[in-house]
Assembly symmetry: none
Homo-oligomer: 421 residues x 2
């Protein structure tokens, strides 16, 4: 079964606010196996809202309206729904009595305009609202359900849980949902899709969604089944094939971030880390320390932003910078080794690169490096691995991709078969 | 003129993500006098999307689609728009050449599926995308405009600003808008609103909007007038009163970030800075280096996450840590002074605090400090200013607020009347 959510209110059409009720509703609907097929936000405009409701009902069996049930002139949901469904609004004395009682118990007098809230669509059931004056409404027609809910989140949630979910469970065949979030690094989105589309497009259950951020792709698999274990089996079957195709580029299977994965590996191997950053300016350390408990493996780091600080703080040889430049394999290696030595840590990790937009300020005799060129180094007692990468995009994207790759160097060091396990 | 925004992507229909592109577009549209009448989110479902586009076009003169222009099978926006408008998709060799050149410059091979991105609606103009492979599209019909934009925000923003706004300005009757973005730190949102609401509620033009983030509040004023100078006068009248009420807590009047303001002050005073961070773990350095050109004043920093590194790298006296603890005024002072000495910079800035959720790992004889307690120090040749603050909230909020306050210490040092100008 699919649903559409229509949020009503001109205040939701500004540049600052988003409709968050729909996120709550989506979660609850997904849990009972209902997919949200579309979401709309409409202002307090009766004709436009009526058109939106009517169109939603032609294509989707369940339509949920939120907001616009207040007592004032700009609360147009009741009237728009009436026009869209061709059903009159009918006055209910018992609802008005309830609203009046609510005001009395707060020792306030009900305003005359609240009478508007005592009208229901002909044939609709009132959904009791114990936190506000406007009742919700449930209009159940064959193969077509319309729900009207008030906009304030605490009212909406209470009505949805107490009144709507029990009714929906009777409508919706029982479904169980299982999810898996594979996170992948080291592969551009289009390459990833080209490799796994032939696999996931064979399945409509699970549903596959791909989300891309700089240096980080999430593959969401959401499967349904008549039992929890059936749903899980459905997801695992597809997940196994996707994972086999992507191999060790998959860094997490439950949605953990790369800094969490790298941190867990450091901790479980009893290893400690120090970092030396140039173009990323602290972003690598910031990500490593975002996780509580990171002090168990992360000792600290240097942001040697100015070339001279690489020499003074980390012991990089000034002749290296003069001959190779600060953006070089040699500089990266000396930074990582310096960090490791000065922290007495198991590993030292460095990043140096040209994040732009200004040109490389210290090119050395080797000449200026192009924007996006980054060198990373991971030093241990036995060796020092150095990687070179040309990233694309703007300053912030280059910094994010470089940070991501640095974290991945840690992860890869601990992969089975890396020769270090 | 009114617009509808349609965001395409099944990932935007989950319980976690919201469409934020529409907020950006709404702001830009409002600035040229276009109101958003409805917003829709649709999944990667060609038939449903085509129906939504068609309906939006019947009621609204400007329809903007975002997302679904990628190279993969589930990128259906081009085809849905083609069906909705009754216009074929036409292949453009010059667009494909551009995409191929983009891949070549990154030393990568274009995947065959990227060819899909070289198709335009018949009669549409390509909107150049210098940050990604998918061009936008502009289909201008009499009294009906359809715009297709890619989903990644940095691509969408660049295309909208460079390609769409100039075209829209020719379509929209001229109305002048002036805006001012006051940014404020050091005041909770409710206190701020209590102080300025009596002022701004007297005006319906300008419209006032308040946005709060940890340690950072933005007051947006948007005024209209029949000429640019009239709009500006309207905004300035209100802005002057708000600024007078808030005094030196207003750190910028054009929306600049606090790291930009602090950086400009350092640069214009010929000052250099080094930082020493503990609980913020690199966040301060990361923000300072987010601005291009920061190497003019920012020399570098230390993330002395482990207590021992404060001693070994910055020369903090181990007896200080043993008696006062790492979260102490004394530790902050020695960190700031150490950073300044080792960098030979004009200023040294430090942060040490308990960001939680784990208790203070090195309390010293002074006993454990509560979560949220942070000490900051700003050292110069003449003196060292130390501040103590108890922040509220979770780890990430505490880190953000501490970073914000550290940047504000720099700004306040250069305020007229601070005795240092």
């Amino acid at each position: 079964m699919t649903a559409e959510i229509v949020a009503v209110g001109s205040e939701l059409l500004g540049a600052q606010r988003v409709d968050t009720n729909s996120l709550y509703l989506t979660q609850k609907l997904n849990e009972i196996g209902v997919e949200v097929a579309a979401k709309t936000v409409v202002g307090d405009d009766k004709a436009r809202l009526a058109a939106v409701i009517q169109q939603a009902r032609t294509r989707t069996p369940l339509v949920i309206l939120t907001g616009g049930l207040g007592p004032t002139e700009d609360d147009v949901t009741r009237e728009a729904a009436s026009a869209a469904c061709g059903r009159e609004l009918v006055f209910h004395q018992e609802i008005l009595d309830g609203i009046e009682a609510r005001f009395r118990s707060a020792r306030r007098k009900m305003a005359a305009i609240n009478r508007r809230q005592a009208f229901l669509l002909a044939g609709a059931e009132a959904l009791a609202n114990d936190r506000g004056t406007a009742p919700g409404q449930w209009l159940g027609e064959p193969a077509k359900t319309l729900i009207l809910l008030p906009g304030p989140p605490h009212e909406l949630k209470a009505i949805f849980e107490q009144e709507c979910l029990p009714r929906l469970r009777r409508l919706v065949p029982e479904r169980h949902i299982a999810t898996r979030v594979l996170r992948v690094t080291g592969l551009p989105e289009s390459d990833l899709d080209q490799r796994i589309a032939p696999i996931y497009t064979r399945y409509t259950n699970p549903v596959t969604t791909i989300l891309a951020a700089p240096g980080d792709i999430q593959v969401h698999l959401r499967g349904q089944g008549s039992s929890e274990s059936e749903a899980r089996v459905v997801v695992e079957e597809l997940s196994r094939q996707v994972e086999a195709e992507l191999g060790d580029r998959v860094y997490s299977r439950e949605g953990e971030s790369l800094e969490e994965v790298a941190g867990q590996l450091l901790e479980s191997h009893g290893a400690t880390l120090a970092v030396a950053e140039s173009c990323t300016g602290g972003m690598l350390a910031e990500r490593l320390t975002a996780a509580p408990g990171s002090s168990k493996y992360f000792l600290g780091g240097w942001v040697t932003y100015h070339a001279e600080m690489k020499v003074r703080w980390l012991g990089v040889d000034p002749r290296t910078l003069d001959s190779c430049g600060v953006v070089s394999a040699e500089a990266a290696r000396e930074m990582a080794e310096g960090a490791r030595r000065l922290a007495a840590s198991t590993l030292g990790l460095s990043i140096t690169g040209a994040a732009g937009p200004a040109p490389d300020p210290h090119p050395g005799a080797a000449g200026p490096k192009p924007v996006g060129l980054v060198f990373l180094a991971l030093a241990s007692e036995e060796d020092c691995l150095v990687k070179e990468r040309q990233f694309l995009g703007e300053r912030e994207r280059i910094r994010q991709q470089a940070t991501q790759m640095a974290l991945d160097l840690i992860r890869r060091r601990f992969l089975p078969g890396s020769g270090r396990e």
